[in-house]
């Protein structure tokens, strides 16, 4: 029953990607989404998938500082752009204020949606360091979380905003 997987021609292209401040050369298929490139070709499994149709926000990463759904973007579209995944939020061993606040307040239950939420919240705080509760709700309205009822997530974003301002 076993067979070899033979290809007639090379199917991969070399992409130069800037991820978390590092430059990577990645051999991948051009039809792969950024989500697939990150998870499957770069083993950056901190980025999760929830629907792969752009419906849940779980796979959000930052592209040039803006939250993007990595399941709706091709890896090849990310060439020469600055990509940040959750693994890049911890800088020099120091967690981002959002990461600490989420841990302190119990905002991560199963934790599966948290990478996407942290990055989306980071984009918000980078642009608007003192958001109101409603502005946070608006910013995170594309990120589904089934565990927390969002309450501790909203509180954690507010706590992180305070910590950053200190």
């Amino acid at each position: 029953m076993r067979k070899n997987n033979s290809h007639d021609k090379l199917s991969k292209t070399l992409l130069r990607l800037h991820v978390n401040g590092e430059v990577h050369e990645v051999a991948t298929e051009v039809n792969k989404t950024l989500l697939e490139v990150l998870r499957e070709d770069m083993n950056l499994t901190g980025t999760k998938h929830g629907c792969e149709l752009g419906e849940c926000g779980t796979c959000a990463v930052l592209v040039d500082g803006q939250p993007m759904l990595s399941c709706l973007m091709l890896g090849i579209e990310a060439v020469d752009r600055e990509i940040m995944t959750v693994e890049g939020m911890t800088q020099n061993g120091k967690p981002h204020a959002l990461q600490s606040a989420f841990a302190d307040l119990g905002a991560a239950q199963c934790g599966y949606c948290i990478p996407g939420i942290l990055l989306t919240a980071k984009a918000l705080l980078d642009e608007n360091p003192h958001p109101t509760r409603d502005e946070i709700r608006q910013a995170l309205s594309g990120n589904l979380c089934r565990c927390t009822g969002y309450t501790k997530i909203l509180q954690a974003v507010e706590l992180a905003a305070k910590e950053i301002a200190r």
Partner: protein, 762 residues
């Protein structure tokens, strides 16, 4: 040994895995990448009800890059979570019973190639008329096409009937009888993590299966049975689960197929289901039609209650035997019910099987109970809270159906939630379109019986100490986000007076960890917590003896605190925990101990008595404030207050988190989410885009009040928090809608208010 104040329990600590989760370092099942992994996909039936006449896999097998194709004939052994209703096959053999039922599986070099191969499998079906509603199933006769043949009555999976006390007499003594019919719509768990399993049959002839499962132990048993392997050669590992809510509690086709395909190919086989597939795997909330009858005196005290429930079970039994009993078990555990009769029926339909979702079978009848209580209060002119307060169950009492209530903080929950929400100022006093509603509930803290009959412990914990001062805790429990790993660490840290950070917790690995039955029925804190405390209790005398000898302090003056064993009277006379372990290890040899937990024996014994008993009941009350747009039918929740009697808040942050998450999930069930099907048996909305669930914009402010009753059965008095708080919120929404737009709501027969559980005559 001296008792000390609690230093870990009750504190709002981080979970031990919190930073890993926030750093993206937690490895979930689909994050595993083993060398040489190949990928599997399942071919699913497009028909809800059909006989399989033949499956030809030849064309798929010829495809370059395909490693194996399997069908049901290769593993026809039936399985299922409940031993008496095993009616599932890893891949359907003779018949498909819902659109989405898997019939074949492919392993290939890539997911896309596996998908391509699926299209080359030829299945010949004889299409049968599907049974899609409770009514159609109930109307089945001897001549009807049966979805299953093992069950006694055509398309009835299980019919149960229970009666306690003098029901007829109770209704005869009543001054008023209230009857109503209710419907609670089905919905699904929608965990953010899709199902994933990785199977690897190694060169040592041992099978390892990693799976996002809530019940690694039951999965272990199912694999042994279906694959015909000795259980000792199978290892099930559950990596941290990305949300379960009950949906990952059954053994599933994809898990068995990943294992089987690895046995054939001898390569790691990964299968990750798509979001669409998770809607078909389902095992979610049963749609239930209910009839409720309550007899009361003029003062509103209940004399008798009678319930009939009809559960739309879908194509397989799953937990259905328990589900049907649960729709009748807990009606008696909030208000005193002196006489009670219950009849329940779970039918088979050609839809994805329903199963346990947060609250398992109890949110539906709770919806009916609490709406009817409000109806009684209105008719008799009594405030709904007063009506309930005059007949609450009491601590240390036995219900008419033989359930033992240990602690009970229901009265405090009612009083506190009413005070915070300013109930008296609002009820029937808000302007038209605005309303408040109240409801109460109770839930189990762990099922009193295991799923398969045995006399072994429900939870086992093993602890290893060594000279490093580090403590390793092993337990079969699985952290699905609720924080069960942290609970183990907190309990052991408290017992030994050390920092939870000094504890390594290893869980959910059937080779390495003692059996725990799994993360279901809100059992984990009570059962693993007690087992952990027992294990610590076996080690402490050895440590105290060693410390006593070394410091020349009598053992009864010693205490475990601040990472030390110290004199309770002179805190400066102390040894570090690591030093004490070193002394004890030198004296007694390698230090380790096990702890076990069995729930208390059932107070009563009758057929069906296994569903309902528990070490302790939690109690919850909720008040919902909302407003309705009478023109559009839109309901907007303004705020939810919830008071939950959790026994002891092991970690208040986690208890609040469970409570808030329950409120959110309840609001989704009440106002947005429904698992619905087309006439051809296909799911109407199998995507997150169409299956609407609350976002940050729909989820209101939630105010949580924790009521601590310190239950004698729980570890440090803890009960449960994961499921109970969902229960009162849905009927509280219904009661608030009535308060907001009473007349319109009752009369409107085709109103646009999208309300999952509605009066059926609407």
């Amino acid at each position: 040994m001296k008792k000390k104040n609690l230093s870990v329990i009750g504190k709002p600590l981080r979970k031990i895995d919190a930073m890993a989760k926030c750093a993206g370092e937690t490895i979930y099942a689909d994050d595993l990448n083993l060398p040489r992994t190949i990928y599997a996909k399942l071919l699913r039936s497009p028909h809800p009800h059909a006989r399989i006449l033949g499956i030809n896999t030849a064309r798929a097998l010829k495809l370059d890059g395909v490693f194996a194709v399997i069908t049901g004939e290769e593993m026809p052994q039936k399985f299922g979570i409940m031993p008496s209703t095993e009616d599932e096959e890893a891949l359907a053999v003779d018949k498909v019973r819902y659109a989405g039922d898997p019939v074949a599986a492919v392993a290939a070099v890539s997911e896309s190639l596996a998908e391509k191969a699926l299209r080359l499998i030829d299945v010949e079906y004889e299409i049968l008329k599907p049974i899609l509603t409770i009514e159609e199933a109930l109307a089945s006769t001897e001549d009807s096409e049966r979805i299953h043949t093992w069950n006694r009555q055509a398309n009835i999976q299980k019919a149960v009937s229970l009666e306690f006390g003098d029901v007829e007499g109770g209704f005869a003594r009543s001054d008023h009888i209230f009857e109503g019919t209710f419907f609670y719509q089905g919905n699904t768990h929608l965990p953010m993590e899709q199902y994933c399993a990785v199977g690897f049959y190694g060169p040592d002839d041992k099978l390892t299966l990693w799976s996002s499962t809530q019940t690694p132990h039951y999965l272990h048993r199912a694999l042994a049975k279906v694959l015909n392997l000795p259980a000792s050669r199978i290892r099930v590992i559950a990596p941290p689960v990305g949300g379960g809510f009950g949906g990952k509690s059954d053994p599933f086709s994809h898990e068995i197929c990943a294992a089987k395909l690895s046995m054939i190919t001898r390569r790691p086989v990964k299968i990750t289901l798509t979001r669409e597939e998770t809607f078909y795997v389902h095992r979610g909330r049963h749609p239930v039609k209910m009839w409720a009858k309550t007899g009361v005196k003029n003062d509103g005290t209940i004399q008798a209650m009678q319930y009939k429930t009809y559960l739309d079970g879908g194509g397989y039994s799953s937990y259905g035997l328990a589900s049907v009993y649960y729709t009748g078990a807990l009606q008696t555990v909030t208000y005193k019910v002196p006489a009670y009769k219950f009849e329940g029926v779970r039918v088979f339909t050609n839809k994805p099987a329903c199963g346990p979702k947060r609250g398992h079978g109890t949110p539906q009848p709770r919806f009916a109970v609490e709406i009817q209580m409000d109806e009684i209060a209105e008719k008799l002119g009594i405030d709904p809270l007063e009506l309930r307060l005059k007949q609450l169950v009491e601590a240390n009492s036995l219900t008419v159906n033989g359930l033992k209530i240990s602690s009970c903080g229901l009265r405090e929950c009612i009083e506190k939630v009413a005070a915070r929400a300013e109930w008296k100022k609002k009820f029937r006093k808000l302007p038209f379109g605005h309303g408040v509603g109240f409801a109460a509930s109770s839930y189990i803290s762990g099922a009193g019986l295991p799923i398969y009959w045995n006399n072994m412990p429900h939870s086992g914990v093993q602890i290893k100490l060594d000279r490093s001062g580090g403590v390793a805790v092993f337990c079969g429990s699985i952290d699905i986000g609720q924080g069960s790993d942290s609970i183990l660490a907190y309990a052991v840290a408290e017992e030994f007076g050390i920092d939870p950070g000094d504890i390594r917790v290893l869980t959910a690995d059937t080779d390495l960890t003692p059996v725990d039955l799994g993360s279901y029925s809100s059992r984990v804190t009570v059962m693993t917590g007690n087992a952990a405390i027992q294990a610590c209790g076996k080690l402490k005398p050895l440590l105290l003896e060693a410390a006593s000898q070394a410091m020349e302090i009598p053992p009864d003056d010693l205490e475990f605190a601040d990472g030390k064993v110290r004199s309770a009277s002179h805190h400066d006379r102390a040894m570090t925990f690591a030093e004490v372990v070193t002394k004890a290890e030198g004296k007694h040899g390698t230090l380790g101990a096990t702890g076990s937990y069995w729930p208390p024996k059932n107070p009563r014994d009758f057929k069906g008595a296994g569903v309902g008993p528990t070490p302790a009941y939690s109690f919850t009350t909720s008040i919902v404030e909302l407003h309705c747009d009478s023109a559009t039918g839109e309901i907007k929740i303004d705020k939810v207050w919830i008071a939950h009697d959790c026994g002891r808040a092991f970690n208040p942050l986690l208890v609040e988190g469970q409570t808030e998450g329950s409120v959110y999930m309840a609001l989704g069930e009440a106002l947005m989410e429904e698992q619905i099907f087309r006439k051809n048996g296909l799911h109407k909305i199998p995507s997150i885009l169409e299956y609407k669930s609350p976002t940050t914009l729909e989820t209101p402010e939630i105010e949580t009040i924790l009521v601590e009753t310190i239950d004698p059965e729980g570890p440090y008095g803890a009960k449960e928090a994961g499921q109970g708080p969902l229960l009162p919120v849905v009927p509280a929404v219904a009661n608030a809608v009535y308060d907001a737009i009473a007349c319109a709501f009752m009369k409107c027969r085709s109103r646009r208010i999208k309300f999952c559980g509605r009066w059926m005559d609407d």
